[in-house]
Each structure stands twice: as C-alpha cells, then as structure tokens.
C-alpha cells in the first residue's frame, strides 16, 4: 500500500474541506520524508519501511480532529484577547470622557482627575477579585495563595482611593492594610486546622 492509498483510506471520513485536503497532503509528505530518513539510516527493506511508517502514522484521523480543536481553541483565545483589549480601550475612553465631561461642566479640574485615578484603581481591584474567584471556581491548587496576595493588595488600593477622595483620613486609615494582613494570618490558620483534620482521616484509613 502506498502512503497516498493509506492516507486516503485512513482519512476517508474527513469532511470534504480545504483544511482536510491540505492535512492529507501534509501527512503524505511527512510519511515520505520519514521513509527517506529510514533509508538514510540504512533500512533497505521497503515492506518494513512501509509498515513501520504506517504504524507511526496510525492515528492520523484523531490527530486531525485534535489539531482542529486546538485551532478553534486558539481562535477563541485570540477573540477573547481582542475583546479584552477592546474592553480596556473602551473603559479608558469612558473614563477619559467622564473626566473631560465633568471637568468642562463643573470647571473643578483640581478634583476631577480623581475620576481617572479611582477608575484605574477600581479596575485593578476588580481584576484581582475576579482572578481569585476564578482560581477557587476552577479549584486551582494554589488558589489560596492568590487570595492571600489579593487581600492586602485590594486593602491597600481601597485605602489609597478612600484617602485620595478624602472619604477616609490617612491616619488611622492605614489600619485597613494592617487588618488585611491579620485576615491573611486567620485564613492560613483556618486552612492548617482544616488540613490536620483531613490528615486524621488518612491515618484512620491507613489503620484500616
């Protein structure tokens, strides 16, 4: 059986599309290249060469669908990235628009710059919080570390926003940041207690 015959037979269920056709040609080219490599290595029995290569390329139909899936995944990720970029640009434009609009209407340029600062810091807080929630939702192994980093980070940003806007005095407002570190310690302690409880379960299992 030639490589072309094999590829035609193995890929006969593929849809009649351009990508399927190009894939078929690529497979045949790769098989031919492999045959040349084997000949250079010193293999002279054509039957063995054929069978060895066909065995190597035994999953070409599955490989096609995996490739298609990865291509679609990549396209989705690219679209997501584009949407995110457009979203960020749109948000910045809204912020700048709001800043300019309020400034021209009120004339309070010495205060309206806070719209931009609060807007950006608020977006960072939202980003950190979203990343944390996503890590826990997907049950990522080190989600707890994301939380331990996010809590003091968010507290610091909130402190800055409240301080800048004059809603909270800088002193003793800094206590928010200290409190957030205590929250971190509390989370770690609760986690350790929860883990040691689970360890007892494993020991019981071992006894059994």
């Amino acid at each position: 059986m030639t490589f072309t015959d094999y590829a035609e037979k193995a890929l006969k269920k593929l849809p009649n599309t351009k990508s399927a056709y190009l894939y078929k040609q690529e497979v045949i080219a790769r098989m031919t290249e492999r045959a040349n490599e084997l000949v250079k290595s010193g293999l002279s029995d054509n039957k063995v060469i054929n069978e060895l290569i066909i065995d190597e390329f035994s999953n070409i139909e599955k490989e096609y669908y995996v490739r298609l899936k990865n291509k679609n995944k990549k396209k989705k990720a690219q679209n997501k990235g584009t949407l995110a970029a457009l979203g960020i640009i749109g948000y910045i434009l809204i912020l700048v628009g709001a800043f300019l609009g309020v400034s021209f209407v009120t004339g309070a340029w010495n205060k309206t710059w806070l719209i931009i600062v609060v807007g950006i810091l608020g977006a960072v807080i939202a980003g950190l919080a979203t990343a944390c929630v996503a890590a826990f939702a997907k049950k990522k192994k080190f989600a707890i570390f994301a939380l331990l980093v996010a809590i003091p980070a968010i507290a610091s940003l909130v402190y800055v926003i409240l301080g800048i806007t004059g809603l909270l005095s800088w002193h003793p407002g800094w206590l928010i940041v200290v409190a957030s570190v205590f929250v971190d310690f509390l989370i770690v302690a609760l986690r350790i207690i929860a883990s040691s409880g689970k360890k007892d379960e494993d020991e019981i299992w071992e006894d059994d």
């Binding site: 490599e37 084997l38 250079k40 290595s41 010193g42 293999l43 002279s44 029995d45 039957k47 063995v48 069978e51 060895l52 065995d55 190597e56 494993d202 299992w205 071992e206």
Partner: protein, 424 residues
Amino acid sequence: MGRRLNAELWDKMHYLFRDFNDRMVHLELHYDFEIDLETLKTVLICFFEKAPVLHSRFVDNKVSPYWEVMPYKIEDVITVKHTDNVEKDIDEFLTQYIPPESDLQMKVGVFYYEGKTALCMVENHMCMDGGDFKYFIRSFCKAYSDYAQRGISPIALREGTRSYESVYGNFSKTQEKMARNLYRNVCAKDTHSFPLTESRADDRSFIARRKISQETFLKLKSVGKAHGATVNDMLVTAYFYSLYELADYGENESVTISCAIDLRRHMKDDEGQGVTNHTAFMQCNIPRRGRNIFETLQYVVNSSNLFKKDKFMGLYGLPLLRFAYKILPHSASEEIIKIGYSNPLLAMSNIGILDHKALSLNGYEPVDGFMTGAVKYKPYVLLSATSMRNVITLSMCVRGNEEDKRIVERFFDIFEESIEKLIS
C-alpha cells in the same frame, strides 16, 4: 533542530549519577551460529525508531534539559568483527563509554568466532534500566526470529510514556495521594565500603565476573526455601558474610547494602509504557554479622520481609525528587539533590533471569550470557547477578587497577566459599 523528547525524572537522576558511575548497562550473549547481519540491522533500526531516545542526544541547558532526536546511520551503531581473541574484543567493547551528548545512546557489537557469534550491547542507563533492557532484548530476539523466518516486520516494541508517574497507575485515588506525599529522604548513610585502592590516574574500567554452577544454584534454591528465603536473600547473605571477612568489619558492626528494586511491581501492566527506568533502592541492613552464615541469613530475611510488607516499597523519595526538579532550574536542582543524596557505597542488583528460550534467534538459543550494571567509580561498588539456564553470573564493574582486580577476584573467592557454607 530535531524533535525533542522529555527528560524524565530518572533520566535526570542517572545523569546526576555521572559522578558515581559511567551509566552504561552491558549485555553479552553467545550463540552457536553466525547471526545474519542484515536481519540484525533491520530489526535494530526499527527498534531505534520505536524507542527514539536511543538515537537522541541529551541537552543539558542548565535550566530544563531534554533529549534531541538525531539522525543516524546503522553502521555507527554496530561494530562487526571476525576475531581470534573474542574475550579481549568483547571486554574492550563492553567497557566503552557513551557520553550523554552523543547522538547514539546504544552500541551493538557482533563478534564472529569459530562459526559462533557473541552479541554485545551497551546502552545508557538514562534510557532504560535492567528490567526494560531485558524486555528490549527479548523483543529484539523475537522480532529477529519472526522477520527471518516469516518476513514479519520487526515493529513490535512498546511505545508510550517514560514518566516515573506510571508507578502510581495501579493505586486507588487515596493510595495515590498518599504515595505522592511520601516526602522522605531514604538514602543510605552507612560508611562501610568495599576495600578497593585509592583512585589513580591509570585506573581503567573492567568487568569482573564469576559463575555459580547450575548444581549449586539449584541447591541454593532448595536451602533457601527451607529457610523461607529467596535466591536473592541467599545472594545478599553471601554478599554480607563475604564483606565482613574481606573488608575486616567488626563482627558486631551493623552494615547496609542497597538493593535495587524494580518499581514495576506497582504497575498492573505495561501497556502504553515506553522503555524507561523504574528502579529504586531498598536498604537491606543487618545489625551484626551473626555467629554463623545462617544467622546472617535470618537478619537478611527479616530486613527483606520488612520491606515487602510495605505497599509503597521503593516509592519514598520520589515526590521529593520531583519537587526539587520542578521548582528549580536543573543545575540548581542537581546541587540541592546532591546535598541530600548519599550514593550507596555497597549496592546489589539482582537483574534476574535471562530466559534462554525467549532470547533465541531464528531457533538458536544462547549458550551463555549475562547482563550487568554500570562501571562504578571508587569507592562505590555494585554487585550484579543474572542467571541463564540456572547458571548465575555474578559481576562487578569497577574503574580501577590491577590490585583492584585482585581484590574483586578475592571477594568472589570468599563469596563462593560463603555459598558453599549455605548449601552444605
């Protein structure tokens, strides 16, 4: 740039062992006919393609090493010679060293003499251990016979993962979790060593061997059975007993020998497994020599049974190694591991049976053969044992001098005496 293969945990560990041994695994088989070279070449090329690590070079880029698959010519793999001095030529071939950066990780020697053939193989331990090397040569011989007799293409060699994690495949979820949390350093700390000379510039690799006859082997088996001991226990006992005499250890000194164990005992089947390493060490310790060799035997059996009861035998330390390799760049991991790792001064590897039927080529069974581990650099030693047709071949590969050869031969003499004591 060629295709890349993962450098697995044991690949990296055996690379780390370059300070302690030359990483070569050796095989020698004798046949009473002349092997057909073209058939051998065809089978070998097919097997090299099925196990591409055998024609790859190890790239240690200090951060994340890998194997790079390289093109090759079969003439570079095989050495063919018609010889009048087959022992000398075999010795020269077997004691060669293959650098990990070489494009080929296995070399095959075909030595024709008096109408017979000595088939020799040397391969890098980073690619596979004794267990998989035995599988490789069995499959090779079957493929040779099938191709020569029936024209069946020689492509039947397992392919798949080379990862160490396959050892967990047969565990339940809970057991696997427990096994993956065995963060324990289980290295030997014993300072008792084999009494070789100091390293010198003129040290050369040599392979010393001694055979134990079929008659003795069968007696050893039956005596072992009577004492609840395996053949391995009997050999380890003789090893201990001989060492105390050779190295003049105190009778009441506790000594440890690290015994290689095949971690495939934890795997249900080998489907989807590529040729790789799955060997760890268990520390066989005796508290004292014992009043006689049978007391030594009892100590060995007790120690060995303790390990056999452990369902996680040999798996300690793997999570620690994985952690070290995962969190740090490779060069840093090596330095950290070297701090905690203590290479055993005394080691034993019972590679097991070389099945003469399974190793037949085109109907010709091998008349003799053995397999042995790496050449150890002083002061480390490894005693290897294989058996064929109920004849045990003990071997010790050392980089040493003539005095070291005499010491090893003396060790074998005492070993034989110990075996005689066991079976008398």
